[in-house]
Symmetry: C2
Subunit: 254 residues, 2 copies
Amino acid sequence: MLGRCAARALGALRGLREGAPPARSPGPSRRLLSSEKVSEKDHSLPKPCWSKDMRLLFDQFMKKCEDGSWIHLPSYEEIATQRSQDFPTFIHAYFPTASELINQEKLSQGRLFTRSFEDGLGFEYVMFYNDAEKRIVCVFQGGPHLQGMPGFFHGGAIATMIDATVGMNAIVSGGIVMTANLNINFKRPIPLCSVVLINSQLDKIEGRKLLVSCNVQSVDEKILYTEATSLFVKLNPEKECDVKELVLNSAPPA
Amino acid sequence: MLGRCAARALGALRGLREGAPPARSPGPSRRLLSSEKVSEKDHSLPKPCWSKDMRLLFDQFMKKCEDGSWIHLPSYEEIATQRSQDFPTFIHAYFPTASELINQEKLSQGRLFTRSFEDGLGFEYVMFYNDAEKRIVCVFQGGPHLQGMPGFFHGGAIATMIDATVGMNAIVSGGIVMTANLNINFKRPIPLCSVVLINSQLDKIEGRKLLVSCNVQSVDEKILYTEATSLFVKLNPEKECDVKELVLNSAPPA
């Protein structure tokens, strides 16, 4: 089962990366998540645009969730935190040097990058978390608007889903974190509109640093498309820390 | 001035990454670029959604283009190659093992990832190339739909523009290439809707490998946001090579 600490982190995560509606996020992170106008649509649930492979994998993982060993992670398109009265406090606490650079007017139009496409055209994905093994599996179906070389996904689209998955793994383990390093080896191009599995694993926690690795495989696990390592740094609002200082002093993973 | 080789590479590049209309892409790569229904809109020219900083930098670089030392790179939203009758030949030549995995129906909806947003909401950018120095500068204005942490760009959006810029630099130097490694150090979060400069530099060519580095800075060049290195591998259609073999045998940059 998900521990209280991980549950808190998930609450913060929902607000920060996935925009959970407040009704589903009680507890310590409630204050940051307060909002009156957030979308209730959970994009991690089956949609008509999902392929047979995507639905099959969703069903398989939902089955694994029944004994509590795996947890289905919901995902919303709006960022709750930014619409909250608490947002200036949040920004000042976590990013004191950046707060004056943030354009408040533009911010009101802010939308989570991975949920900013119409259904089926961009990123369709659902994540499952295994607390005992510190793993997240993301089932990802990329749409036709993610093209790079004709017929294949753009490297940036793959990097985006990797960052979202390893970032989620770091957040459930470390709370509010920031990506410091992402090192991706693209081994084979991924055909456009494929469904793939992104398997991420928390490898180590060293103080405020979290090391997370992952790979991207075909659904039958016979083709290894991509491998990546990442470094995340925990942010500490109590100390009103400067994120620059934190991140500049963080070495990339060995 | 741009040499003939680089001009050919640019022709291929336009078809592969930026979707140039055939009228602007004569020469050796013409056959792959033939298409009847490609958009003529050049997204690298000023639009109403561009900010003052973006326009100012565009004007400064266009001024530098007057003596031929810098070249403005056009950018189109549709991929010409995939609509061509030659596309199956292209895929079979460059990606023989992947051709059967490509969904032809979905491919017809394919759209370049970095040009798949409505004006002003996603990636607005223009690139300039300096052939003598093997450099590309990308002026990038990110829209509100590229959000990660509230108030900041998603790491994946930054990775995408880095991949697009270093990839362009590799293509103008090496022809048709594929990203093999991307290693990104995120030093500071970038406020949502900022304009930034992405400076890329071809560092080395070793056989089929091209090493390209880059950084992401504020427009006044006072803030260093991100640094990255990348490895690209040239593809060789004459040998009907398997991209897997090529890329699997490529070590990441030291």
